[in-house]
């Protein structure tokens, strides 16, 4: 069943190659116009390194817009750069150094990458796929963006692949209203809506059993088996923090794992501290993570990180009937309180 779904997805990708080229050309034109008219100061999109890899591209000059690309290797979630002060300057609400009170007194901690920011302090355009757009919605709901200074360029997406050409698992379960970004959430949509082979209708939150099958398979294990499964993965973890640093929603200026006074979790890579790192991060993302999958893609040792966040997402969905990233106004249920919230733990 999964095999044929994958095969169908791959066929769709090939068919759409021509459409991708067309979109890329239109995107280059749009970026040229935006920059020439000074509607934006920076376009964040996809380009290519001289080594042949697709890379994030930061276009500040009109003539460089021709380097923008769009193809099935455009896996990166570029929304991540909207909270990076060194990329977008003083855009948004992120600014400068922050004083943090520690046990020893006042300690001036530096923001993640802040300092003398680039002179690009103005308007930014960002190219997004549907999954990327979901993370942008969460940033918006958390007041991390000044939406009016942002030009969101949505691209209908046939699915992206890994370097071996296989469509990513996350694309397999992506619903149409995500892979064809909704007009009302974007400033521009470039490219025709994509038609992928019919997958399961997953946008219905009541249709839970088809959404979280990978999580359910793990839930079906007994605690000892589950523990062993995850500890084997955590033993591989290098604590490179790629998962955290690639995540568009991990934007804390002073991450709890970078604090050394007190040091909450040892930075040394070992099963116990790695376990703490991943579980704490999952809790910080619960109700916020949109399953863009970048963490798992970035992990150099193949830890199935999506499953951890999706477990949390499953619990949030079951408890609050909420899925992150679909509505820019909706706040995560874990940061707001409503009278109707379930309270089974209090009897």
């Amino acid at each position: 069943m999964k095999e044929s779904a994958l095969k169908n997805a791959e066929a769709a990708v090939q068919k759409a190659a021509a459409a991708l080229q067309k979109t890329a050309a239109a995107l280059q034109e749009t970026a040229t116009d935006l920059l020439a008219q000074k509607a934006v100061d920076l376009v964040i999109g996809y380009g290519r390194s001289s080594g042949g890899d697709v890379v994030p591209l930061f276009v500040g000059r009109v003539e460089e817009a021709q380097a923008l690309e769009w193809n099935q290797h455009c896996t990166y979630n570029l929304v991540r750069y909207l909270t990076d002060p060194e990329v977008i300057g003083s855009f948004g609400s992120n600014r400068g150094a922050k004083k943090i009170k520690s046990g020893a007194g006042m300690e001036e901690a530096t923001a993640k990458g802040a300092g003398k920011a680039e002179a690009v302090a103005g308007k930014v355009a960002v190219v997004v796929k549907g999954c990327d757009l979901k993370s942008l919605m969460v940033l918006q709901s958390e007041n991390q963006l000044r939406r009016e200074r942002l030009t969101v360029i949505g691209l209908p997406c046939p699915g992206v692949t890994d370097e071996a050409g296989r469509v990513l698992a996350k694309c397999e379960s992506c619903p149409p209203e995500v892979y064809n970004p909704r007009k009302e959430l974007c400033d521009l949509i470039i490219g025709e809506p994509v038609q992928r082979p019919a997958g399961e209708p997953l946008s219905n939150p009541d249709n839970q059993d088809s959404t979280y099958r990978d999580v359910e398979r793990i839930d079906a294990l007994n605690p000892a088996e589950r523990r062993e499964l995850w500890d084997n993965y955590f033993a591989r973890c290098l604590r490179c923090y790629a998962c955290r640093n690639v995540c568009p929603l991990c934007y804390c200026k002073e991450c709890v794992f970078d604090q050394h006074d007190p040091r909450w979790v040892s930075p040394a890579a070992a099963v116990a501290s790695n376990r703490s790192f991943h579980l704490i991060r999952a809790y910080h993302l619960a109700g916020r993570c949109v399953d863009c999958g970048e963490c798992e893609r970035a992990c150099p040792v193949g830890i199935p990180l999506r499953r951890i966040n999706r477990k949390a997402a499953k619990v949030v969905e079951e408890s609050f009937h909420f899925r992150a990233g679909l509505d820019p106004e909706a706040k995560s249920p874990l940061v707001v309180f409503a009278n109707e919230d379930p309270e089974e733990f209090i009897e």
């Binding site: 591989r236 490179c240 923090y241």
Partner: protein
């Protein structure tokens, strides 16, 4: 030089399981890692270099010419994700306990017999570079014991992938620096074995295998040429004056923009060796660290001369391609390509280093698709001063 059959090698490994650590490539969920073999499982986990078999017309993973898709790599990446440095310089290493009552040292692990098999030339060379640090003026005892106790059996590369660039840094797919015994795959599960050191000679002498003849040497020579020709990328490190000249260029802000400041490049690199010393309760230990991290140079008082990621990325490049050479007569890079291969945003170190000079002069990297800047002289390796003797 002798011809070793696969069975000779597997017999050797099986016989060593009882009294030695065996470190070899292991496949886990589609990726290759160097790992210590679990003696209870015998050689079951060992990933024999099957993907490396020369196969005439149908060499897998040679790569399509389509400009749209970069080379399609085989399902199993022939180069391991991790390098071999962690078996000499562990990710986490307990040093001692300090309680309010006293100091209790952790014993340095005794020298353990270790057989490390199928190390690539880049990995083996990486060890010789780490030797200059850990076996220099001040010797790291645990590192020294691990080096002395380990026999490195290397494996030559038949199919370097598009990220490899060892040849432009004094290495190569058929180089032997850092190996005790070098194996060249001849096809049909045979290897041409060449002893590089006394340790390797002793090992080879203990193995059965006929002398290599002219035919085998010719095959090996052909394979070497093919492999070297397969390496398309060439890093051209500018001379120290050019490096110094462009230190303040806005180029560094441009090329580091996409960087996530994670630790992948540092932790997978065969030559990166920065570490932190931390406390876990009363236990003091050292663990890997990366200069990419925004806490690396931050003092308790909050001072930090590398607040910006552009400063940190620049530090990485200058340390590897300028400062290290000045101190140790070699760049701190073996051209394995792991940093780019596994970077979540494919930051291309070759492109960036090659761009210092032309691109740095104008402050921006060349966009892909534009002609590469005209060639510049390759770096001189003359160091201003000799830092340490190294292992030799």
């Amino acid at each position: 030089m002798r011809i070793l059959e696969r069975k000779t090698l597997t017999d050797l490994l099986k016989s060593r399981l009882a009294d030695s650590q065996i470190i070899a490539p292991v496949e886990v969920e589609g990726r290759l890692y160097f790992q210590q073999l679990d003696p209870r499982k015998g050689l079951a986990d060992l990933a024999w270099p099957a993907a490396d078999q020369p196969s005439g017309d149908s060499a897998p993973g040679a790569g399509s010419e389509s400009s749209d898709s970069p080379n399609v790599t085989p399902a199993v990446d022939p180069l391991t994700v991790n390098s071999i440095k962690e078996f000499f310089f562990p990710r986490r290493q307990e040093l001692y306990e300090q309680t309010p009552e006293g100091i209790i040292p952790r014993p340095v692990a005794a020298e353990k017999k270790t057989l490390l098999i199928f190390a690539r030339p880049c990995d083996a060379r990486g060890l010789t570079i780490l030797d200059r640090v850990f076996l220099g003026e001040v010797q790291d005892e645990s590192y020294r014991r691990a080096r002395q106790g380990t026999t490195v059996v290397g494996l030559h590369c038949l199919q370097p992938d598009r990220h490899c660039f060892c040849t432009s840094l004094g290495g190569g797919p058929f180089e032997t620096e850092g190996m005790d015994l070098a194996l060249a795959p001849l096809g049909g599960e045979r290897f041409l074995a060449q002893a590089v050191t006394e340790k390797g000679e002793a090992l080879l002498a203990s193995l059965a295998g006929k002398q290599a003849g002219e035919a085998e040497r010719e095959i090996t020579e052909k394979l070497r040429k093919v492999a070297e020709a397969a390496i398309k990328r060439s890093i051209q490190v500018p001379d120290p004056q050019t490096m110094a000249k462009h230190f303040d260029s806005p180029y560094w802000g441009e090329v580091s923009r996409a960087c996530l400041t994670c630790g992948i490049c540092s932790y997978l690199c065969p030559t990166c060796h920065c570490f932190d010393i931390v406390d876990e309760g009363y236990l003091r230990l050292r663990c890997w660290d990366t200069c990419s991290s925004d806490t690396f140079t931050r003092t308790a008082a909050g001072e930090d001369h590398r607040k910006q990621k552009r400063s940190r990325y620049r530090q990485r490049i200058y340390h590897k391609f300028s400062y290290f050479n000045e101190n140790f007569d070699t760049h701190s890079c073996v051209g394995c390509g792991r940093c780019t291969r596994h970077c979540p945003v494919k930051i291309d170190i070759v492109e960036i280093v090659n761009g210092i000079g032309e691109a740095a002069a104008v402050g921006r990297p060349a966009m892909a698709g534009r002609p590469e800047a005209a060639g510049r002289p390759a770096t001189g390796t003359g160091a201003k001063r000799r830092r340490s003797g190294g292992k030799g």
